[in-house]
Every structure is written in C-alpha cells, then in structure tokens.
Symmetry: C2
Subunit: 320 residues, 2 copies
C-alpha cells in the first residue's frame, strides 16, 4: 500500500474549485487538493459559522464564505460535500452562478436520489458527474479531516449516460491525484453495492448500539465496561454523523430494504442453527467468513495488523 500522496502536480487539474460544506470529507478534499496542487484556487462555503471559523483558522481555502453561490461563482469544479438531503437546495442556490463548462460533483453515499435532486437545477453547459469517495472516519467537522483520507481508497463516479467525456476524465484525474483508485458504474448499481458494503453495516451497528442503549441503567453500564468483548467495534460506525446517515437511509430506501431483507433471512437461519444446536452449520459459516477478511487485506483495503492496529501498550503488535 502506498503511504504517501504523490508529488505536487506541475499543472493543477482545475484552476478554481469550490467545496460546499467543509466537514470531514470537504476539509479532507481541501487539504489533499492543496497538497498535490490539484487546484489553483480553493473556495469554501459552509452554512455553519463555527465550521467557517475553523476552516478559516485551519487555512483550508483561499476564501471561506457563508454563501454557496458566492463560492461556486467562476469555479471549474464545484463539489457538494453536505449531507445528501441538502443537495437539491444547494444545487438551486449555486445554479445561477455556475460558469459554462463547469463540472458539478458531490461526495454522497447515495447516487440515484442525488442525481434526481441536483440535475434539474443545473443550467445547460454545466456537467454533472456525481462521485463517491468510499472513505471516512467516524468523526465529523473541519478539524477531523486530513489530506491522506483518500489514499488507496476507491472513488466511484456515476456519470449520467450522456455525460461529457472530458468532464469525467478531469474529475477522474482529480480524484486520482488525491490518492484514489477510480471506478465508473451506474448510479443504481452503486446504490445496491453500497447498501451492502456501507449502509446496512451502519444500520446494523446503530441497531446493536441502540439495543444496548435501551437496556436498564445497570446493565448498560456493564455493557460499556465489558465492551472489549466485541461490542465496541460496532460503536465506531454508530458514532457517525446522524444527519448524514438519516439522509442516506431516506434516499436509498429500496436498496437498503433489499439488502436488509437478505441479512434478516440469513440471521433467522443462524438463529435456528443455534436453537437446534447445529454445531456443524455454525462452524461452516464461521470458517467461510474468515476468507473475506483475508481478501480485503490483500486488496489493500484493510490493515493486516491485529485488532485494527488498536494500541495495546508496550507490546503493541498493531499499528502500521
């Protein structure tokens, strides 16, 4: 796995970019784009005064504005980095300021609904190329971002069928400069795959932690105490941004319900094995699943260190 971003580009890919929403993802794009010189000028907008204050203090952009429209004016690339539920409003707000030939993109975890929300508002001559960098941490806000967040991660582009090939190529080059591998697929396929690899795992994690939260007080404090038995792993995903995830589930309902249906059927079968004492069935399942993690480590999408590389005191076997 590469551990460093490439050397700064001799020529920026976009002269001016606008980042609308400067949370974990937006601020990481700003940092990475600056580091590798993927953009010459970086304009930032955020509706939260606190986020703007931090973005200014962190020098994340050449300008920090409260107005998405102001930031988008004259930009060659506008990246919407707000929760997906905000995209329709943002697209409407920036539309009048968009330069002819500009690329409008996003970073949302849902693509079908996002295209429906954005596309109708864009003027002719502006290129919509939705994107989804499959990367993140459970933390939120401008301070949580870092330039190498996208390193060795995949970024999925879901251009509409009639998309401008040059616009797609420039956006691909931009994400590659930020450290990503880029893949192109349809929005509907993206939404199905991500329902399985991201949305349902988050939903299940929220549910495991929610069930524990609803326990009587005494039991809940024991759950916290003995969480190293496995429970604590779920709490990471379940500490993710609530607004972002509410919007994901509202906007990818069909694929999530379909994936959740598969999960629930399988869980019922597993429950039945336990009730009947089917040791062989359990053993077979538990052996198969090991192979998947090996595949993920080999694909460079997970650390090979035990326990995710969590610190374990002086004898630490984890880390990089």
């Amino acid at each position: 796995m590469t551990e460093k971003l490439g050397a700064p580009l001799a020529q920026p890919i976009f002269e001016r970019i606008a980042i609308i929403g400067v949370g974990l993802i937006g601020s990481s794009i700003a940092r990475a784009a600056r580091r590798v010189n993927a953009a010459h000028i970086i304009a930032i907008a955020d509706t939260s005064p606190e986020a703007r204050e931090h973005a200014t203090a962190l020098k994340l952009g050449d300008s920090v504005s409260a107005s998405p429209r102001e930031a988008a004016a004259g930009a060659d690339l506008v990246v919407l980095c707000a929760p997906v539920g905000a995209n329709a409003e943002l697209a409407k707000a920036i539309a009048p300021a968009l330069k002819k030939g500009a690329v409008v993109s996003d970073v949302g975890s849902v693509k079908g609904a996002v295209i429906e929300a954005i596309a109708p508002h864009l003027p002719a001559g502006v290129h919509l190329v939705p994107a989804h960098p499959v990367a993140g941490t459970e933390q939120s806000g401008p301070d949580a971002g870092f330039a190498t967040l996208f390193l060795n991660r995949w970024c999925i582009l879901t251009p509409p069928e009639n998309a401008d090939a040059g616009a797609v190529a420039r956006l691909r080059a931009f994400w590659e400069a930020l450290g990503c591998n880029v893949e192109v697929m349809s929005a509907s396929h993206h939404d199905l795959v991500l329902a399985i690899t991201s949305h349902v795992p988050h939903l299940i994690a929220y549910n495991i932690v929610g069930t524990a939260y609803d326990l009587e007080e005494a039991l809940r404090s024991e759950v916290i105490k003995f969480s190293a038995g496995g429970f604590r792993d779920s709490t990471r995903l379940a500490a993710s941004d609530p607004t972002m995830w509410r919007d994901v589930f509202l906007n990818n309902k069909d694929a999530v319900l379909e994936a959740l249906g598969r999960f629930s059927e399988d869980l019922t079968a597993l429950q039945r094995m336990i009730r009947r004492g089917d040791g062989e069935g359990l053993f077979n399942l538990f052996s198969r699943t090991r192979a998947i993690r090996r595949g993920i480590v080999e694909a460079g999408q997970e650390t090979a260190a035990p326990d995710f590389g969590r610190p374990h005191g002086e004898d630490d076997k984890g880390g990089a």
Copy 2:
C-alpha cells in the same frame, strides 16, 4: 490508560501453573505471567503438535507437553484455555493428577455451561474458580499472543457460592498482576451480559459477512473492493476462531437467543422507520448511539483515535 505491565513481583502468586491450550489467550497468559513473575514454573500442554512446536520455539513455558494431565500434575493453578466444548474432557483428563488445594480455572466466554462441564470431574479439595478475561484479537494460535493483551481489560470471576475465599483471592491477584481489573459476578449474570457485549455482536458480524459471502461472485468482489464504507469493520470479528465461537453459541444458547430477540425487534422497528421515511426517528436513534462510544472511550476500553487508530499514511491521525 496504563501502557505498561507492573514491575515483576518479588514473590510469585502461584509456584507452579499449568496452561492447557496455548492459543491466543493461553500464550498471552504465559508471556504475561513470566514477565511479571506471577508464577515460578509454567507448564504448558496442547494437543496440537504444531502449537507445541511454536510454544517450544517461543519459549513460552518451562515445559511443553502433549498431555494435559502431565502439565497439571503438581500445579497450584491450572488454567483451561481450550474452546469451551473441550472442557469436560480436559477436566476428566487432569482430575487424577490434581494436587490438593490446587485452583482450577478457565478463560471461557461462557460460564454456566463451563461450570457444569468441569465441576463434576474435580476431586474434593480442589478449588474451581472460573474466569473470563474480556480481551482478545481476531487472531489465533501461540504466535498471536502478547504479554500486554490483558492490560486495562476486565477479567470476570464467577466462583460458585461455596468457593474457597483464599482461592478466589489468589486468582484475583494473578489476573491483576497480568494487568486486569477484576470483577466478581454470578455465572448466569455473566452469560447474559456477555451475550449482549460479545456473543451477539460476533453473531451479527458473522452474519453480515456471511450474507456478503453468499452473493454472486461479481458482487462479492465489489464488496471486498468497497469494504472501507463500513463493511470491513464487521470482518474483524467474523475472522475469529470458528471452533471457539461454535462452542460459545452451543453453550450459551438461552442468553444469546434472548439478546438476539431484543436485537431483532429493534431492527424491525428500524426497518419500519426506513420504509415509512421517518427521518426524525432515525436521527434520534443515530444521535443516542454516539454517547455510548464516548462512554467506552472514557472508561478506557477503547482508543480515542479515529478509525480505531488504523494507519492512514503520512498524515496519520490514528495510533496511540
């Protein structure tokens, strides 16, 4: 959080200990006990020739034997560290060799069934004090162990009602020397709490990964590729030792089915929120669950670093 084991004890707590089964947990006990001088002589037994070979090469004990009975002979503490399904056979095997006054313990993730399996085989004058160090990684075998595995973790003792107070006190001192906080509770309460904090989270993780495994080939390879969206977190628990976990579910059936029932009810409610587009309900749940992770970090049971401290290249914000 303490990051180091204490200085070696002037006097070992047990003159001679036997570790029966030298996997992740057994080998970590051997390393930690040696480091802090919690035992003078460490006898190891394992039925696997490969495990014995590694244990010998790693110098984990003063003797390494194929016979549990041989290792247990004359020991002041015998710790059964095999999958819980093996305990009845092991207890039967070591019984004739046990010294009067010896403490017999284990490390199993299930306590009620373990007591039932072991107790009937022990001769009078031998003290059964079951234990469960709530610690581990997804890796298995003698090489996976390390001396600080138990540092800042909880070890739960579930002595029977008539247990010898001196035996309980010595075992408590032993685990404290290995870095644990020790708590005493009933076996049935342990099995309920661990069903929630460990067994069901593992079951759910196995199920998430199992569902993905059963996808058609093309989709499965995409799941691996885009696993950084959240899926990969589940794969850690689902890479745990299959024999150990089969035995856990076979031996803690009632508590697991009870906890799983709560989980499934809550998941159905969540599914209904998604189907009905109940954004407020989703947001409220997703906000509550954040608090639990904060509690776990504050309790010293989880790293505060984002993404579990996974390596993120040169700008790493993770680690210790």
